[in-house]
Symmetry: C2
Subunit: 236 residues, 2 copies
DNA sequence: CGTCTCGTTCGTGTATTGACGAATTCGACA
DNA sequence: TGTCGAATTCGTCAATACACGAACGAGACG
C-alpha cells in the first residue's frame, strides 16, 4: 500500500467533513461507506459508543480537528486491518493512471524545514551546491516512468503545492536523464536527490547541468522502500 | 471560475489543516501562500486580529470544523476579490488536463437526497424509467470532450465517490453518444440527465439503450451555466 | 414472549474553544 | 534613533466540546 494513497484519501475525507454544514452527517457517510459499525469504530478509538453517536447525530456542531483526524485515522486503520478494500476502491479515484506509475510519494510540510535535516535523515552525500536553505516538501519520482509517460503539462504536477521542494529521483542509472528533464522545464527545484547511487557513479554531466540552474544535487544509497519509510515516519 | 475548482481546493486546504499535527501552522501556511495579511483576513471574518494570531500560534490546539471552514472560505474569498490568482495557481494542481475539459462540476452529498428533488430543481422531463430512489451526488460532463479525450480507465473518474449518482451530459445533439458510452462501461449510473434538449429531440435509441441497463433518463432545457448555478447554490 | 446485543439519547462534569481587548513587541521608514 | 501601524501575546469569560455512563429503543433469536 502506497502511503501517499492513504494520506490523500485521509485528506479528502477530512476536508469534506470539515467543510460540511453538518460534520456529523459527513462522518456518518464515511463510516457507512467503509462498512464499519459504530461499536467497532468506538473500540478502535478507545471511547464509548455513545461518543460516536453524539458526533454523528450532530450534538457536536463543530468538532475539533483533533477528533476528526482521529476518527478518519481509525476508519482507515480498521479498513487496512480488513485488507484495505475501501482504501483501494476510493484511492483509485484520487489518482490518474500516470500518477500511480510516476509518483511514489509526495508530501508538503505545514512549515518549512531545513534541507540539512532531510539530507541527514536519508544519509545523503553532497554532489554539488549548498545545503543552507529550507524546503516545503518533497516528491519521490520514478524517473524512467516520468520521462516515458508524462506530458509536458502533467510534468508540473510533480511539484506539488510548492516548488520549494526536493525532487527525489528513483530508478536512475547515472542521474543524467532527470537533470536534462529539469533543464528543459520552466520550474526549477532547489534540490535534487538521486536515489540508489554512489557519488562515484554519478555522471559528471549532472554537476554541469545543476550549476547552470543553481540546483543542489545530493545522492543517497538507500533503497526506495527504506527511503520512503524514513520520510513518512518522521513527523515534520 | 469553475465552482468545482474552488470547492476542491477548499477541501484540500481544510483536509490538510484538519489532519495537521499543528493546525495553526497549517493555517498560517495557507494564509501566507495566498499572500494575505493577518489583519485583512481578520477583517473579512469580522473578528479581531488577535483571533487569527491565537489560532496560528497554536493556542487553540484543536479548532472546530466551523472556524476552519470559515477561515478557508475567507482566504478563497479574498483571493477571488483580487482576481483569483492563487485559486487558479493551486487549482491547476488538482486537475489533470483532461479533467478540466471534461468535468464541469462534480459533487458528492453528505447524505443521500431524493432524485425527485434534483429533478424539479433543474426542471427535468422524464424520458423513461422511475424517479423513486435517492442519489449521493452528481457529475456534469461535456459529452463530446469526454468521448474524445478520456481513456477507459479515466472514464471511471466521472463517477466520483459513489456510483449512486446522476450523470448530467452537456453538449449533446440527440443523446445517443452518451448512452452508448454508458452501454459499454462496466459501471452504470442510475440516472442520466441530458442537458439543453427537449423531449421530442431525444433520439428514440436513447430509451432502448436505457432500458437495457435500467437507467432512468431525464432531459432539461436549461443552459449549462444556469444548471450548474442552481445545483451549486442549493445546500444539500 | 423474554432476553441479549447493539445503537441512540441525554444529563452531567471538566477541559477547551472562541472571542475580546489591553498590553506589548515588531518592522518599516523617515 | 524615534515614531507609527500592524502583528502578537496574554488574561479573561461565556459557550461549547469532549467523554462518560445510565437509561432507553430496536432487531435478532430461541
Amino acid at each position: 500500500m502506497k502511503p501517499v494513497l492513504r494520506q490523500q484519501l485521509a485528506e479528502k475525507m477530512a476536508g469534506e467533513i470539515t467543510l460540511s454544514d453538518s460534520p456529523g452527517k459527513a462522518l456518518k457517510k464515511w463510516r457507512t461507506s467503509f462498512q464499519i459499525a459504530p461499536g467497532v469504530l468506538a473500540d478502535h478509538l478507545g471511547v464509548s459508543p455513545s461518543v460516536i453517536s453524539d458526533y454523528e447525530s450532530g450534538r457536536r456542531k463543530s468538532p475539533g480537528t483533533g477528533v476528526v483526524g482521529k476518527i478518519v485515522d481509525s476508519l482507515l486503520n480498521v479498513d487496512e486491518e480488513n485488507g484495505g478494500t475501501y482504501i483501494k476502491k476510493y484511492g483509485k479515484l484520487l489518482f490518474s493512471d500516470y500518477d500511480d506509475e510516476v509518483i511514489y510519494d509526495i508530501h508538503d510540510f505545514a512549515s518549512s524545514i531545513p534541507i540539512r535535516e532531510l539530507s541527514e535523515l536519508i544519509e545523503c552525500t553532497l554532489i554539488c551546491g549548498e545545503l543552507d536553505s529550507q524546503i516545503f516538501g518533497y516528491t519521490v519520482i520514478n524517473s524512467t516512468n516520468a520521462i516515458l509517460n508524462l506530458s509536458p503539462n502533467e510534468f508540473n504536477r510533480i511539484y506539488g503545492w510548492s516548488t520549494e521542494r526536493a525532487l527525489i529521483f528513483t530508478d536512475i542509472s547515472t542521474g543524467k536523464s532527470p537533470m536534462i528533464a529539469i533543464r528543459v522545464t520552466p520550474f526549477k527545484p532547489p534540490y535534487v536527490i538521486l536515489q540508489g547511487i554512489d557519488e562515484e557513479h554519478v555522471s559528471p554531466l549532472v554537476k554541469k547541468l545543476a550549476e547552470k540552474d543553481h540546483i543542489t544535487v545530493l545522492c543517497t544509497p538507500l533503497g526506495v522502500q527504506d527511503l520512503v519509510t524514513r520520510l513518512r515516519k518522521t513527523q515534520w
